[in-house]
C-alpha cells in the first residue's frame, strides 16, 4: 500500500520500553493526528520513524509505501520520502539556510541519479523564494545561519520550508504548533495545507486542537502510555479538547 504502516512497534530508550506495540496506518493523501498527554511517547514515535540512534526498535515493523524502512539510515529514509519536522530543531552555526537547503536537494536528487550535477543556482533561488513567500518569510532568512539564534516561530517556519522544498511523501510534524503565536500558526498551517496532495500523507503530533482546525485531519488517534488507545474522526479531537485525556480509556 502507498503510505505509512506501523505494525506492533515496540521501542526502547536506554533499556526502558516507551512504545508498547503501536499500530497505525496513514495512507497517502490523508492527514492523521496523534494526540496525547506529555511524556506518552509521541516524540519517541517521531524520532523512531526517522531513525534516531537513541531509539531501539525491539520488535514490530514500519513500512513506507510497502517497503520496510527500519534497516535504513536516516538519510535513506529521507530519500525514500519521509520527513520529520522537529519539535526542537538544532542549530548549525555558520551554515546558511540557503546553502543547507541546496545541499539537501542535491543529496535527494543524487540518490535518484548518481550523475546528477546539482541544481543550478537560479533555479534553486527561484524555488526557495517561491516557497518562502508561501510561508510569508523574509528573504533574508536564506542568508541566516540555520536555526542559530532563531525564535521559536522562525525555527518552525524553516522546518516547513524544508518540507516544501524536499517534497516528501510522508511528513511527520512533531508539535509544529508549539511556540507559534496565532498569526504564525495560521501562516504555517496554511503553508502545510498548500502542500497537501493525494501523494502526501501527513502525521501531525500535537497536544491541542488549534492546529487541527486548519489541517482538518481525517483520523485522530489518541496515544496514552506508549499505546494508541482510541482512533476516530475529527470529532475525537474536539472531545479531547473539552474533556481532557481522563475520559479516554487507558
Amino acid at each position: 500500500m502507498i503510505g505509512l504502516e506501523i505494525k506492533d512497534l515496540h521501542v526502547q530508550v536506554e533499556d526502558v520500553e516507551i512504545l508498547h506495540g503501536i499500530n497505525l496506518i496513514v495512507p497517502a493523501g490523508e492527514v492523521h493526528a496523534i494526540m496525547g498527554p506529555n511524556g506518552t511517547g509521541k516524540s519517541t514515535l517521531a524520532y523512531t520513524l526517522m531513525g534516531h540512534p537513541k531509539y531501539q526498535v525491539t520488535s514490530g515493523e514500519v513500512l513506507l509505501d510497502g517497503r520496510s524502512i527500519l534497516a535504513l539510515s536516516p538519510e535513506a529514509r529521507s530519500h525514500a520520502g519521509l520527513f520529520l519536522a522537529f519539535q526542537y530543531p538544532v542549530a548549525i552555526p555558520g551554515v546558511t539556510v540557503a546553502n543547507f537547503l541546496r545541499t539537501a536537494i542535491n543529496a535527494h536528487r543524487k540518490a535518484v541519479d548518481p550523475n546528477y550535477h546539482g541544481i543550478p543556482i537560479p533555479e534553486f533561488r527561484k524555488i526557495m523564494l517561491e516557497k518562502m513567500k508561501l510561508l510569508e518569510m523574509d528573504q533574508k532568512m536564506g542568508g541566516r545561519y540555520l536555526n542559530d539564534g532563531f525564535s521559536g516561530g522562525e525555527k518552525k517556519r524553516v522546518e516547513i520550508l524544508q518540507m516544501a522544498m524536499l517534497e516528501p511523501t510522508m511528513a511527520v510534524l512533531d508539535e509544529t504548533d508549539s511556540g507559534l503565536d496565532i498569526d504564525a500558526l495560521r501562516i504555517v498551517s496554511e503553508g502545510i495545507n498548500t502542500l497537501k496532495s493525494n501523494r502526501l500523507g501527513i502525521l501531525v503530533i500535537t497536544h491541542y486542537q488549534r492546529m487541527l482546525n486548519y489541517l482538518k485531519p481525517d483520523i485522530v488517534h489518541v496515544m496514552v502510555d506508549g499505546k494508541i488507545v482510541e482512533s476516530g474522526g475529527p470529532e475525537l479531537a474536539l472531545q479531547l479538547e473539552e474533556e481532557g485525556y481522563r475520559g479516554v480509556k487507558a
Binding site: 526517522m50 531513525g51 534516531h52 540512534p53 539510515s73 536516516p74 538519510e75 529514509r77 529521507s78 530519500h79 520529520l84 522537529f86 530543531p89 538544532v90 548549525i92 552555526p93 555558520g94 551554515v95 540557503a98 546553502n99 543547507f100 541546496r102 545541499t103 539537501a104 543529496a107 535527494h108 540518490a111 543556482i121 545561519y145 540555520l146 524544508q162 524536499l166
Partner: protein, 468 residues
C-alpha cells in the same frame, strides 16, 4: 558564494601534485656553510652590508639550539637540503618571457588567469627565486612599489635598509637567523601615504625540486593612511624526501594604515613549514592576519602584531586542518605596548585521521598599555578518537585598566547535528563536511570570494573519505 563553486570545479589534489623536470641555472651543493651563503650573495650581486649581515646571521643560526617545544623536527635534516636553487637568470613582468615549463606550472595553478580577473599585482616564486612580478600600471603611477625583494634592494636601497630586520631581527629565533642568512625571493611592497589598493596583491610560492629549502623574505611598508591586502599561496608536489620552507615576513603599518595579510598554505605533506611573520602596528593602524594552514607535514607559525602606537588594532583569524601525519602548531601573538590598543584572535582547528593541531597564543599587555582590550577565542573539532587537539594560550598582564577575555572549547561533531542533517537526506560524510564548513565559516567569510570558494573546496577534498 555558492554561485562560484562551479567556476572552480576542477580543483583536485592532482592539480598541485605534478612535477616538472628539474631545470635550473644554478643549484648550490647540499648543506649550509659560509661558502654557500657567499654563493647566494654573489648570485644576487648585493651590497657588502647585506653579505656581512648574512654571515653574521649564519653564526647566530649555528649558535642557537633547535626549539625544544612545538612540532617534532626529527625528520628535518638540515644537512640534506639544497639551500639555493636558481631557476632562471631574470625576473619578468610578462608571462610570455618566462621559460615554458615554469609558465605552464603557473598556468596549471591558474595564476595568470587570476591576475587578470581579480588581482592588483602578482609575484610568483619558483624554487629560490621570483620569476615573475607585475603590478597594474595605474598603481605603479600612484607610487606603489611591488617588486621582488631583490629588486627592492637594488632599486630602493635606502628604504630597504631602513626597515630590513627591524621587525624580525635575526636574533629573534633560530629560523629567523637561518632565513636572514640564506633569504632569497619574496616581495618588497611600499604603499605611499593615503593610497588605497583595492584589489589584493598576490604572491605565489611553488616548490618543484625535492629536498629543497625555500627562504623567502618579504617586507611590506604601508605608509600613513594607506591600505593593502597581500595574499600568499603555497603549493608543492609530493616527494618522499622532505622539503623545508622557512619565510620571514616583516610588516610596518604606519599611522592609520590598514594591512591585511592572507595565507593559504597548502604545501604537500612532505614540507616542514616554519615561518616568522610579524607586524609593527603604529598609532591607529590596523593589522589583520588571515592564516589558513591546510597542508605541510609540520607547521610552526604564530603571526604577531606588536601594537606600538595608541589605538592600534591587531586581528588574527587562524584556521588549521591536521590530517594523517600532519602536525599543525599554529596560533598568534598580540603584544599590547601602547594605550588603548585592541586585539582579537579567533582560531579554528580541525584534527582527523591521527593528525594533531595545537593552538599556541600569547596576549601580552604591557604596563604602558592602559585601557587595552584583548579577546581570544579558540575552538577545536576532533573528528575521530586517534586525533589530538592541544590549546596553549598565554595571557600575561602588567597593566591595571584592561579587559582580556579568553575562551576555548574542544568538541566533536555533534550527534544531534549529524542526525538532523542526515534526516534531510545528506550522507554522513556530506553532513560532517557541512558542519565543518559552518565551523570555519567565520574565517572563510573574511577571504576574498575566490579564495573562499577555493578554501571550501579544499576542505571538502580533505574530508572526502573521512567518514567510514
Amino acid at each position: 558564494m555558492s554561485e562560484q563553486e562551479d567556476v572552480l570545479r576542477g580543483i583536485e589534489p592532482q592539480r598541485y601534485d605534478f612535477k616538472d623536470p628539474e631545470k635550473y641555472v644554478f643549484k648550490s651543493r647540499k648543506g649550509l656553510d659560509a661558502e654557500v651563503v657567499g654563493q647566494i650573495s654573489a648570485h644576487k650581486e648585493e651590497p657588502q652590508w647585506m653579505r656581512e649581515n648574512r654571515l653574521k646571521a649564519l653564526q647566530q643560526f649555528n649558535a642557537m639550539p633547535m626549539p625544544s617545544w612545538g612540532v617534532d623536527l626529527q625528520g628535518l635534516d638540515l644537512d640534506d637540503l639544497y639551500y639555493y636553487v636558481k631557476p632562471t637568470d631574470e625576473i619578468q613582468n610578462d608571462w610570455d618571457e618566462i621559460p615554458e615549463a615554469i609558465k605552464n606550472t603557473f598556468n596549471r595553478l591558474g595564476i595568470p588567469e587570476a591576475e587578470q580577473k581579480f588581482l592588483a599585482g602578482v609575484g610568483a616564486q619558483y624554487e629560490s627565486e621570483m620569476v615573475y612580478h607585475n603590478i597594474q600600471k595605474q598603481l605603479e603611477n600612484q607610487g606603489v612599489i611591488f617588486l621582488s625583494i631583490e629588486e627592492g634592494l637594488r632599486q630602493h636601497p635606502d628604504l630597504f635598509k631602513q626597515y630590513f630586520g627591524t621587525v624580525v631581527p635575526f636574533t629573534d629565533n633560530k629560523f629567523a637567523a637561518l632565513n636572514t642568512a640564506v633569504w632569497s625571493g619574496g616581495s618588497f611592497v611600499y604603499i605611499p601615504p593615503f593610497v588605497k589598493v583595492e584589489l589584493p596583491l598576490q604572491a605565489y610560492f611553488r616548490l618543484n625540486t625535492a629536498s629543497i629549502g625555500q627562504f623567502e623574505r618579504s617586507i611590506i611598508i604601508a605608509d600613513e593612511g594607506s591600505q593593502v591586502h597581500y595574499v600568499e599561496g603555497c603549493t608543492a608536489p609530493q616527494y618522499s624526501k622532505n622539503s623545508f620552507h622557512s619565510g620571514v615576513i616583516e610588516i610596518i603599518v604606519k599611522k592609520g594604515a590598514r594591512v591585511r595579510y592572507t595565507t593559504i598554505q597548502n604545501w604537500s605533506t612532505n614540507v616542514y613549514n616554519l615561518v616568522t611573520q610579524r607586524a609593527m602596528v603604529h598609532e591607529e593602524g590596523t593589522m589583520e592576519w588571515v592564516d589558513s594552514n591546510l597542508g605541510s607535514k609540520a607547521t610552526m607559525k604564530y603571526p604577531a602584531c606588536y601594537l606600538v602606537g595608541p589605538h592600534a588594532h591587531g586581528e588574527m583569524l587562524s584556521m588549521a586542518f591536521a590530517g594523517r601525519g600532519q602536525d599543525q602548531d599554529t596560533g598568534g601573538k598580540m603584544l599590547h605596548l601602547a594605550e588603548d590598543t585592541t586585539s582579537k584572535i579567533t582560531s579554528k582547528s580541525i584534527s582527523k585521521d591521527g593528525g594533531r593541531s595545537s593552538f599556541r597564543g600569547l596576549v601580552y599587555v604591557d604596563k604602558k598599555a592602559e585601557s587595552a582590550k584583548a579577546k581570544v577565542v579558540c575552538d577545536a573539532l576532533i573528528l575521530d578518537g586517534k586525533s589530538r587537539s592541544d590549546t596553549y594560550p598565554h595571557i600575561e598582564n602588567r597593566a591595571e585598566n584592561v579587559s582580556i577575555g579568553h575562551e576555548a572549547s574542544v568538541s566533536k561533531v555533534g550527534e544531534e547535528q549529524l542526525f538532523y542533517l542526515t534526516s534531510r537526506g545528506l550522507s554522513e560524510e556530506e553532513a560532517t563536511t557541512m558542519v565543518i564548513s559552518g565551523f570555519i565559516e567565520p574565517l572563510v567569510k573574511e577571504l576574498p570570494m575566490e579564495y573562499a570558494v577555493e578554501m571550501n573546496r579544499l576542505i571538502q577534498l580533505q574530508m572526502e573519505g573521512a567518514v567510514g
